[in-house]
């Protein structure tokens, strides 16, 4: 269970998060939706420790994460697939996956997890010797998700996995995300594609200019008029 309380983050003078509070219960899919610049990515980056918070607290299974080093946070079972995929282009698919397991020392288990990722994404196994930069956008996204899974996280955070992908590929990715969730990994998902994200989400939060303005189950927000208007592109008729 991840519990964020009253989190404030600023970049220089610009306030990115103005005291947000949210919960990510174990085994659920939680999604954060919002426009560009609302602070979604900042939230994720603060959880992993890439960005320092001003105040507030992030509790992970009762343990305070703020002020901890990135490697400690990641080895405590949190992984992130960053926005824009950011695979390592001149390294092979297999090397990319191995980098994901960088903080682990159990060789045999790593080998098993590579096989697990290959089962989830058979396409990656076919291309395991190919340089990651030569993969298509969808395959790179699969690799980014697979790489995040290699640290064997209890909580996986995905930053806009649908970015720049064809609708059919997005559906593939989302079905795999639900599959991963069924295997016991908690998911925190950030999306512009609110429709897709809300459909698979157990819990959802709407973020606007650093504040959480709405929250509820995925189905509730899908039905919410305000959300429909702002994010789903359906005008009142």
């Amino acid at each position: 269970m991840l519990n964020i309380e009253n989190l404030h983050v600023a970049y220089g003078g610009i306030q990115a998060l103005r005291g947000i509070s949210l919960q990510v219960p174990d085994g659920k899919i939680v999604t954060l939706i919002g426009a560009n610049g609302a602070g979604k990515s900042t939230t994720l980056r603060t959880i992993t420790g890439l960005v320092k918070a001003q105040s507030g607290s992030i509790q992970w299974n009762g343990e305070e994460l703020l002020g901890k080093s990135i490697d400690r946070i990641i080895s405590s079972g949190i992984a992130m697939s960053p926005e824009g995929r950011r695979v390592f282009p001149d390294m092979s698919v297999l090397e990319n996956l191995k980098i994901g397991a960088y903080l682990r020392r159990d060789k045999g288990e790593i080998e098993k997890d590579i096989q697990w990722v290959y089962q989830l994404f058979p396409r990656l196994e076919e291309r395991s010797w190919q340089m990651a930069g030569t993969l298509s956008g969808g395959e790179q996204q699969m690799l980014a998700v697979g790489r995040a899974l290699m640290s064997r996280p209890k909580l996986m955070m995905l930053d806009e996995p649908s970015l720049g992908l064809a609708p059919l590929v997005v559906q593939d990715i989302f079905s795999i995300i639900t599959e991963i969730n069924k295997q016991g990994v908690t998911i925190l998902l950030i999306e512009q594609n609110a429709n897709m994200a809300l459909k698979i989400a157990d819990l959802a939060y709407v973020l606007e200019t650093g504040n959480i303005t709405l929250s509820g189950t995925g189905a509730e927000l899908l039905a919410n008029e305000k959300v429909k208007e702002a994010y789903l592109g359906k005008h009142k008729s």
Partner: protein, 401 residues
């Protein structure tokens, strides 16, 4: 299965290296075993061939250590000559026998450091016969390791502030460091240690490794074998580092720092590790360079030397160890040997001189060759592939047919 493959590869590499060393020893000793009249000019000990081989061995280690930093970790550093200088001086200062110090440091009335590994091991194993050989070899190896360590310590100290910089700024800062080190080592006030602007000499060199009999005639030449052996061991260590999880982390940092950080890779720690390792091996190659030119002289370790090594790395392919090694021998052979004829005037039978062929023309042609390489072969000889990759590809292609 992957592990089995790499084991096979390691065995193959080991066999190849041993074979190469054997060939070197054979080539070198043709002049010892055959009567002097039947030795071709090429294989005489004074031949350009051996000078090129020795310098190539020294430079290839310097190039590979630079590639570790520039090619594999993506840190563009130009401090190579500075670290080589540190290595050369550390080696020289710790290796000149105490008895010779008065003569070497005559301007300063003797050296402030009255200690040498040569004397220390000499007093344990003796200075004559087998004992002498053991103490000389041990002294050289220990001094070389220390040379690397001193360079690595300096790298750590300047790395603390400098590694926060990126790309061009890092290059300028390290370049500045190399220049400062060069100036400091020529400083009069440090004369009793560094011999000021004069050179330090009379330490064991490559030719000290030739085995002689009591009368002083050479019975086995090892002067080319030794730099090859040292370079091979060091390059093999760099290969092991690159293929380890650390090496993978270096590459990840090169490709995308933010993503690497998000994987839990500690950027500062890994950059420092790469910087210090690179400096260590640059220090060792600096010590070998001092042995090659038989003196340690701060004036030699200029920016031009760094550029020479950078050029080799670029020609060989940034991110390819075998490329760096091949490019080194190609570069050294061209600049020291194959293009020499361009420097000598040729007078035709009718007394006319051929145009252009005179001292200095070699460098003109050489620059043109380099420009062509940079313009048309931007990825260098090997790109980021290694030699074994080429064989693998061929096998795969044949299999596809």
């Amino acid at each position: 299965m992957i592990q089995q493959k790499s084991k096979k590869g390691a065995v193959a590499a080991l066999i190849a290296c041993t074979a190469l060393l054997a060939v070197i020893v054979l080539l070198e000793n043709v002049s010892v075993f055959l009567p002097a009249s039947s030795v071709p000019n090429l294989l005489k000990p004074t031949s350009q061939l051996f000078a090129v081989l020795k310098k190539g061995a020294v430079y290839s280690l310097a190039a590979v250590s630079m590639n570790l930093l520039n090619g594999f970790t993506g840190l563009f550093s130009l401090g190579q000559a500075g670290f080589m200088l540190l290595g050369a001086y550390t080696y020289a200062i710790l290796s000149v026998p105490v008895a010779d110090r008065e003569a070497v440091y005559y301007l300063y009335g003797g050296s402030a450091v009255n200690f040498s590994f040569q004397d220390m091991f000499g007093s344990i194993f003796g200075t004559q016969g087998v004992g002498g050989a053991v103490s000389m070899g041990l002294g050289v190896v220990v001094a070389m390791i220390l040379a690397g360590c001193v360079a690595a310590v300096f790298a750590y100290l300047i790395g603390l502030p400098v590694l926060r910089l990126k790309s061009d700024y890092l290059a300028i800062a390290t370049l500045g460091f190399a220049e400062i080190i060069k100036a400091v080592f020529q400083w009069q006030a440090l004369g009793p240690v560094t011999n000021g602007a004069n050179m330090i000499k009379s330490f064991p060199t490559f030719s000290s490794f030739n085995i002689t009999d009591a009368s002083g005639t050479v019975i086995l030449r090892l002067s080319t074998f030794f730099p090859f052996l040292v370079s091979m061991i060091c390059i093999a260590m760099i290969c092991l580092l690159i293929n380890s999880t650390y090496g993978r982390a270096f590459k990840a940092i090169r490709e995308d720092e933010t993503a690497a950080e998000a994987m839990g890779i500690n950027l500062a720690k890994h950059k420092m590790l790469s910087f210090c390792t690179s400096a260590f091996f640059a220090g060792v190659s600096g010590a070998m360079f001092a042995m090659f030119v038989t003196n340690a002289h701060a004036k030699v370790y200029t920016t031009t030397m760094t550029y020479e090594i950078l050029l080799i790395v670029v020609i060989g392919g940034i991110g390819s160890i075998s490329g760096s090694v091949m490019a080194t021998f190609l570069y050294v052979a061209c600049s020291e040997w194959w293009l020499r004829f361009l420097d000598s005037e040729v007078v035709l039978s009718n007394g006319m001189k051929l145009p252009f062929l005179r001292a200095g023309f070699r460098m003109v042609v050489f620059s043109v060759v380099i420009m062509i390489v940079v313009l048309f072969f931007r990825r260098g000889i090997m790109g980021d592939k290694e030699l074994p990759d080429l064989f693998k590809k061929r096998i795969r292609k044949e299999g596809a047919k």
